[in-house]
């Protein structure tokens, strides 16, 4: 899988996203506590940790949904902390949500068309191609709210791709998706990586994380307690302690 050709070698050297000592507090609770991490182009990263460890808050701080209290987020050569969510999206960061957020009373096709920078006619081809990719082409005129949970999840996933983001944040992509769909989804994520895009995913399904990610970050109580290859992480004492207690 990890064929290292010349092009990918170059890509790997490029930093896509750099987070420096990012902190976010809600009242007295420090949800994210001085987290630093670096993502390189063309790689798949995992972000794991027990419930309430700050994974989604970190996503929200990167994408501007939440304002960080301290620290810097650098993407594509410039700081993005302090920008509005739509500005960050336009710079090339796409995301999905833990709880699905499709536009329920727009059709599946419209859900994609609305995201484009081009005019509607020009975007149509790409939108249909993406719907074919996740086998939703037949349902293109159906309201997104009428699709099944798994179908909505796939729709939300390809909606992110309409803008061709360089960094894709996926919040629990595997949750509630059946095995067949899941394999398609994982293939799609690898395909994105092979195009040179970077993927950071929050996931509770360890099989998915271990099978897909090249580097895993572990959060506990808002702090990054470990970082490394999946095999190494699994045997890390602090990680085991965070999940199972001492």
């Amino acid at each position: 899988m990890l064929t290292v050709n010349g092009i990918r070698d170059d890509l790997m050297a490029t930093t896509v996203l750099e987070i420096e000592r990012l902190t976010k507090r809600f009242g007295g609770v420090t949800a994210v506590d001085g987290v630093s991490l670096r993502l390189e182009a063309g790689r798949i990263y995992g972000l794991i940790g027990p419930n309430g460890s700050g994974k989604t808050t970190l996503f929200n701080c990167i994408t501007g949904v939440e304002r960080r209290d301290e620290g810097r987020v650098v993407f594509g050569g410039g700081r993005i902390d302090g920008l509005k969510p739509w500005e960050i999206a336009q710079k090339g960061i796409g995301r999905t949500f833990q709880l699905i957020r499709v536009f329920p009373e727009l059709s599946a096709l419209e859900n994609l068309l609305v995201v484009t920078r081009d005019n509607l006619a020009a975007a149509r081809e790409r939108a249909l191609e993406l719907l074919r990719f996740v086998k939703l082409e037949e349902l293109r005129d159906e309201y997104a709210g009428n699709l099944s949970y798994g179908q909505q999840k796939l729709l939300e996933f390809v909606r992110v791709l309409m803008r061709e983001p360089t960094l894709i944040l996926l919040d629990e992509p595997a949750a509630g998706v059946n095995r067949t769909l899941l394999n398609d989804l994982l293939d799609a994520v690898r395909h994105l990586r092979n195009q040179g895009r970077t993927v950071l995913l929050v996931e509770h399904d360890m099989k998915v994380v271990m099978g897909l990610c090249e580097t895993v970050f572990v959060l506990d109580h808002g702090e990054k307690i470990a970082e490394g290859a999946p095999g190494v992480i699994q045997t890390d004492e602090r990680v085991i302690e965070a999940y199972f207690g001492r």
């Binding site: 994408t63 501007g64 949904v65 509005k84 969510p85 739509w86 999206a89 336009q90 796409g94 995301r95 949500f97 957020r101 499709v102 536009f103 329920p104 009373e105 727009l106 419209e110 068309l113 609305v114 995201v115 484009t116 920078r117 005019n119 509607l120 005129d141 159906e142 309201y143 909606r159 992110v160 309409m162 803008r163």
Partner: protein, 308 residues
């Protein structure tokens, strides 16, 4: 294609019929149709902001009133002809929307609705206060002029313009983006849509029509006072018309305006005491039985295109 052609032909026939109507109609018929046009403009305009973005404006009559006073003052005090005064009424309403929309559109849900309700009350108080310009509580009389038929055409043109504008918006990327604000504003922003700018544009567009027909109404009636051009009931009626016909659709506000106005005239005029009761019953029935309105229901059931 054939169905589209037939629909266009039917539409052209209706427009031609309405254009010829004053030639053979009674005075009452012309006045009633003129008012239907006005309601189409008001309901259609409310639909542009509230039906599409989900930001429910409870003070939309403020733009009607602002247009009415602007037009009336220009005609009565400055001596402008009514047509440019009506356009100035539209401009005044859009400027008001710009001033009020910028801060208020940051408010979500009920807070936005209440803020606009407050705007309407403030305007009514201001108009009552500046007696020198507005006549205060005594109202403002315009010079006598029988312009019912030209105003009929001006109202009709406004109704056609608002409906055409709605069609253009709903079938465009801009319109789809407005709908994403209604569907899920957080997701819309995460997809790179500048929701603040989109909402403001929709709000400005939604103020122009009420401003123009407000000024036309002032000219047509020849006399306005604060309670006659800033009534909350007018906003409520706009909302009910759109909910009845189908929010976020092209023809829903037109259908709602015609049905509700005709029902009001034909049936309710004979039973004045039950009128408010029936009005309330319609609101409850629509909300309970078909929250998407007549066209919204048809649209989701039969997958009709957005051009309906």
């Amino acid at each position: 294609m054939i169905r589209r052609g037939a629909a266009l032909a039917a539409l052209a026939a209706v427009v031609a019929g309405l254009a010829a109507y004053p030639g053979y109609a009674s005075g009452y018929g012309v006045r009633a149709t003129l008012q239907i046009f006005m309601w189409i403009v008001l309901a259609g305009s409310w639909n542009l902001i509230s039906g599409l973005t989900g930001y429910v404006s409870f003070g939309h009559v403020a733009f009607f009133g602002a247009g009415a006073y602007t037009g009336a003052i220009l005609v009565a005090k400055v001596g402008w002809p009514w047509l440019p005064a009506a356009l100035a009424g539209g401009v005044a309403a859009v400027l008001l929307a710009l001033v009020i929309g910028y801060p208020c559109l940051r408010l979500k849900g009920p807070y936005f609705a209440i803020a606009l309700l407050g705007l309407n009350e403030v305007l009514r108080a201001l108009v009552s206060y500046f007696e020198g310009l507005t006549g205060g509580g005594n109202g403002l009389s315009l010079p006598t002029l029988d312009a019912t038929i030209p105003i009929y055409y001006a109202m009709g043109a406004s109704a056609a313009s608002v409906t055409l504008l709605t069609y253009v918006i709903i079938t465009s990327r801009f319109g789809l983006r407005l709908m994403t604000i209604r569907e899920d504003e957080v997701a819309a922003e995460a997809m790179g849509i500048d929701t603040a700018r989109h909402k403001l544009y929709a709000f400005l567009l939604s103020a122009a029509g009420p401003g123009i027909v407000g000024a036309l109404t002032a000219r047509d009636q020849g006399y306005i006072e604060p309670i006659s051009v800033f009534p909350l009931a007018t906003t409520i009626t706009m909302i009910v018309m759109v909910l009845l016909g189908g929010k976020g659709t092209v023809w829903g506000p037109v259908l709602g305006a015609v049905v509700l106005f005709v029902a009001q005239e034909v049936v309710w005029a004979r039973y004045p005491y039950v009128h408010p009761l029936l009005f309330g019953a319609i609101i409850v029935a629509v909300v309970l039985l078909m929250p998407r309105g007549v066209l919204g229901l048809l649209q989701s059931r039969y997958r009709l295109p957005r051009t309906i």
